[in-house]
């Protein structure tokens, strides 16, 4: 895992629709309390049309939406129905603005078992009858308001998406973005989010094995919390999120329903306005209940009595009761009076819209209710029959037998409005893309520059974060955090290893959304091949500003195009994910930040891994007896090994960490990715790894070649080792600026090390793959020396890198 990255720079101005004052939402909630006149019935028009329209507006429903609802229903909606339409038409649930673009993703491939959008999560085949379910989801707005619970419930939600597929959750990764650590609020958010992930993930017993963190003022008001969960299942255990079988019982399981998280999906579908007023929209997590729910659900699925299953996540009971029959071509009828509640006097509106956590909806085969209920009871959980499957294509909600909502499910799902929003190339690009390198002085002391970069919070070591996460529970984590470019898990009972990574760079996307989208996928794949794995598929979290702003929509469109092109080139289909719009605070939108979660597999022959041995209290790396060595970590191993640079260094400083940290500039064009060249590099790495020639591999990303080399020298704290590098001669690129050679972030590059004897065959192999490969130096000594520019004790680099983040967090605010 490489946790890296930071930036600063100007922001987009907020534009587009000004959403309703959040206080209005508050007033709706109070309307939801049992004022007798509002206990609407389908036929009872005891709520005035004006009031309903007002309520509709407060749910971000437009006049058009309201007219559409009246048309679909053939009557005025009830208050509960307005709430249901409100959450289901929210951007968060409906993907109204993004759907037309998401359709352009490649979603099929020979390993895809469940493609994007069909179930709770995508599923890919890893052979031997096994499969991986994985998905990434954002929890940005809740985390901005209440970081501990916001992040914790983000973890809980994505875990449920995975085990509802019949998979045991085996790993979590997270991608986090915060503002500058110079701000006290950023520290509060950063520490809270890390605590939330730690509290929930540790207790629920799913290891957090990797991730990344960037600090940049673009996220000052709106942090990003994206969590990816990976689950392992036997293919025959695959579960479905569809309701079918006329008369089959609908079972509510898990926690009782409270008033927490009311309208969370709507809250996620507008800009952040007033933190405190939004607090009631944040859910509260209970990892203990979730842990019990995992075990009970997997036991229930193993009985074969469960027809369909879906998490009650965003939009709670509403979402599951309309999406499951929509998938199954059926209908559902429930009675909210039967829903277990933790508060008195909840209205149907509140029960349907609550986002209380750790709840799921199951469709059972008839007659199996008692058996399943006793199974959940063993784990101390509710399992209550609240309705049954119908075949009329409607979602009917009763309250003590009185109908309070009766809606065709298709109107809420497949036929929900889709917006083809206008797009416009952002005006700022003309200015940012003009970067004259001539105006930038090359620093005199390049060693100091390297040290500064290593200590910058985005690049600095993230140990103080990942040590707070239990990354070893389940005893599969083969490559621990902070050791390699990707996390590696063994798959018990097989010789397979699973590799996973999560990557994104918002600054690249801000400066060129199309290239930025490509770069994110390319880096994720590069990280996987660096440990020796073959990339399989991706999930994504697309974090953007307000989609009503044509410039934001253009960023979105271009990022999606970049991701799609890269995924097509690499044959790594998109298996799902989520879209998070409205990531804006009062002073503007975040940088467009697509985050790519990618998984890969490797199948080494048994007993081929190198290992660490304890000799006289010191750990030493033991080369494997055979020439094979899996997985590959990022640190240099032995004195005398040769260091090679794969790929070409171009004069590319645009969008670099160096430009941001040292020159305080967010400008230029990000590095270009040649997708075919990138693919050739991937194939070379997989080939070289299979030959057992690679002793270390680390990709060049933030901070460029110099930071990559430094990290390979210092990544293993117990085994710091130097290197002597001659770049200029070996790459014959003397024409380039020195800072571009050292800190430029040209794509498609990996620094590897190997035994001297492996150099010749490696270079020949690289030539066959059409990848530039140059021996640039040797491992050894206690200093990192790069040409005549950098000469420093690795101990000093290590100190800067290891203390950088804590120093920034502990620095008192001015």
């Amino acid at each position: 895992m490489v946790m890296s990255k930071m930036r600063s720079g100007r922001r987009l101005q907020a534009a587009g629709r000004k959403t309703q004052d959040s206080r209005l939402t508050g007033s709706v909630l109070s309307l939801g309390s049992p004022v007798s006149g509002l206990r609407s019935q389908v036929s009872g028009l005891d709520v005035s049309a004006d009031l309903l329209k007002h309520v509709a507006r407060s749910h971000n429903l437009t006049e058009d939406d309201y007219a559409r609802i009246v048309r679909v229903l053939g009557r005025q909606p009830t208050l509960t129905e307005v709430g249901i339409f409100g959450v289901m038409y929210s951007e968060h649930c409906s993907y109204a603005s993004s759907k037309p673009y998401l359709k352009t993703f490649p979603t099929r491939g020979k390993s895809v078992l469940v493609p994007a959008g069909k179930e709770n999560a995508g599923v890919v085949d890893i052979g031997d009858g096994l499969a991986i379910a994985f998905k990434c989801e954002s929890h940005n707005h809740p985390s901005a308001v209440e970081p501990v619970q916001g992040a914790a419930t983000g973890v809980g939600g994505i875990i449920r998406d995975i085990f509802t597929m019949g998979a045991r959750p085996i790993a979590l990764l997270d991608s986090l973005r915060f503002g500058s650590l110079a701000s006290a609020r950023t520290k509060f958010l950063f520490e809270g989010v890390v605590k939330g992930i730690s509290d929930y993930g540790n207790a629920v017993g799913v290891p957090t094995v990797g991730g990344e963190i960037y600090f940049d003022s673009a996220y000052q008001e709106n942090p990003l919390v994206n969590v990816m969960c990976i689950g392992l299942l036997e293919q025959r255990q695959l579960a479905h999120a569809a309701a079918s079988g006329l008369g089959n019982p609908v079972i509510y399981v898990g926690s009782s329903t409270g008033r927490d998280g009311l309208g969370g999906a709507s809250f996620a579908s507008r800009e952040l306005i007033d933190g405190d007023a939004d607090r009631p929209a944040v859910q509260i997590g209970d990892p203990f209940t979730e842990k019990c729910l995992i075990e009970a659900t997997l036991e229930a699925l193993a009985t074969g009595d469960v027809v369909g299953i879906q998490d009650m996540g965003a939009a709670g009971l509403t979402c599951s009761t309309c999406e499951m029959p929509a998938r199954g071509g059926s209908g559902i009828e429930i009675d909210v009076a039967k829903v277990p509640r933790r508060e008195e006097g909840m209205t149907p509106y509140e029960i349907m819209l609550s986002e209380s956590q750790e709840r799921m909806l199951l469709i059972l085969k008839r007659g199996r209710q008692a058996k399943i209920a006793s199974l959940f009871a063993k784990w101390g959980l509710n399992a209550v029959e609240i309705g049954r499957v119908t075949r009329d294509g409607r979602m009917r909600v009763n309250d003590h037998g009185v109908v309070v909502a009766d809606i065709p499910v298709s109107a809420l799902t497949d036929e929900a409005p889709i917006y083809h929003r206008p797009t416009k190339r952002p005006a700022y690009l003309a200015k940012t893309q003009q970067l004259s390198l001539r105006s930038l002085p090359v620093p005199k002391d390049l060693t100091a520059t390297l040290t500064t970069l290593l200590a910058s919070p985005t690049i600095a070591n993230k140990r103080c974060v990942y040590e707070q996460y239990d990354h070893m529970v389940q005893t599969n984590t083969t490559v621990l955090p902070g050791r390699a470019d990707a996390a590696v898990l063994r798959v018990k009972g097989t010789t397979k290893w699973l590799a996973a990574t999560i990557d994104g760079n918002g600054r690249y996307c801000y400066l060129d959304p199309y290239e930025g989208g490509k770069l994110a996928v390319a880096e994720a794949a590069r990280n996987l091949v660096c440990v020796g794995a073959r990339p399989l598929a991706i999930t994504d979290c697309l974090n953007f500003g307000n989609p009503n702003d044509p410039e934001i929509m253009w960023q979105f469109k271009e990022c999606v195009r970049g991701i799609a092109d890269a995924c097509r080139a690499f044959e790594t289909p998109v298996t799902g994910g989520n879209v998070s719009f409205y990531n804006e605070g009062p002073s503007g939108a975040i940088d467009p930040t697509p985050v790519i979660g990618m998984i890969g597999v490797m199948e080494p022959r048994p007993n081929e891994a190198g290992s660490w041995k304890l000799e006289a209290g010191k750990r030493r790396f033991q080369s494997p007896a055979s020439s094979f060595q899996y997985p590959i970590t990022a640190n240099f191993k032995e004195e005398g090994d040769t260091i090679l640079l794969l790929g070409e260094t171009k004069e590319e400083l645009g969008g670099s960490e160096y430009l941001s940290v040292i020159h305080h500039r967010k400008a230029g064009k990000p590095p270009r990715v040649d997708l075919q060249q990138e693919l050739a590099l991937q194939r070379l790495m997989i080939d070289a790894a299979a030959h057992g020639w690679l002793k270390s591999a680390h990709d060049c990303s933030e901070g460029g070649l110099a930071v990559t080399l430094a990290e390979s020298c210092i990544m293993d704290e117990d085994h710091l080792i130097g290197a002597r590098i001659e770049v200029a001669q070996s790459t014959k690129q003397k024409a380039h600026r020195v800072d571009a050679i050292l800190f430029g972030e040209s794509a498609g590059r990996i620094v590897i090390s190997c035994a001297r004897g492996a150099v010749e065959p490696l270079v020949a192999l690289a030539k066959r793959h059409g990848v530039a490969a140059a021996a640039i130096g040797n491992v050894g000594g206690s200093r990192l020396m790069i040409g005549s520019w950098v000469d420093v004790l690795v101990e000093d680099l290590s100190a800067a890198w290891r203390t950088g983040l804590a120093t920034a967090v502990n620095r008192r605010n001015a």
Partner: protein, 229 residues
Amino acid sequence: MKFGVVVFPGSNCDQDCVHVLRDVVRQPVVTLWHQETSLRGVDAVVLPGGFSYGDYLRTGAIARLSPIMRAISAFANDGGLVIGICNGFQILLESGLLPGAMLRNTGLRFICRFVHVRVERTDTPFTNQLQQGQILRLPIAHNEGRYTTDEHIARTMTDQVVFRYCDADGQVVDAANPNGSIDAIAGLTTRAGNVMGIMPHPERASESALGSEDGRLIFASMLEAHAYA
């Protein structure tokens, strides 16, 4: 040798222990549900790590009240082998089978990482395959691992300390004490020696693929003790 791994709601290292005992140490293993009242004839009990009942009160405070713990107390008092790992150690303390209590780590944060522990005694059923002063590399993963007790008890129980946190060279120094435990205590037995609590996770360090096999020696010691019991 038949092992029983206890499963409380919220345990999350139970299957890891089952895996190591069954697939690595190659012994028969059963899981014991917290509501059971019989130990089903097991030769040793493992109280695994995790967050029993959510640990929302004090760690291990609710677990000690479970039906299975009554059976385990009787088993322990009768000389049966009981190992409590992490949350299991906390439960042993709450049950009064071992003296002392756990406080939050001095850094007030959860810590997950490999640490070194020094073997202080080899005449126990959990350490007979180890050398005096041997340094083991084992992972910890806890928020409340700061062992504490009053000075009087601490003075009288020095011969019950089995493992102490140390540095890679075996030196017991403050810098190598991850959680602020009194006397750097990482593992403790009863006076009789048949019950041990240990904060590090030996089951996470019993296979080379996971970076250390040192933990397996603790399970191997239990086998040895049973064979000659």
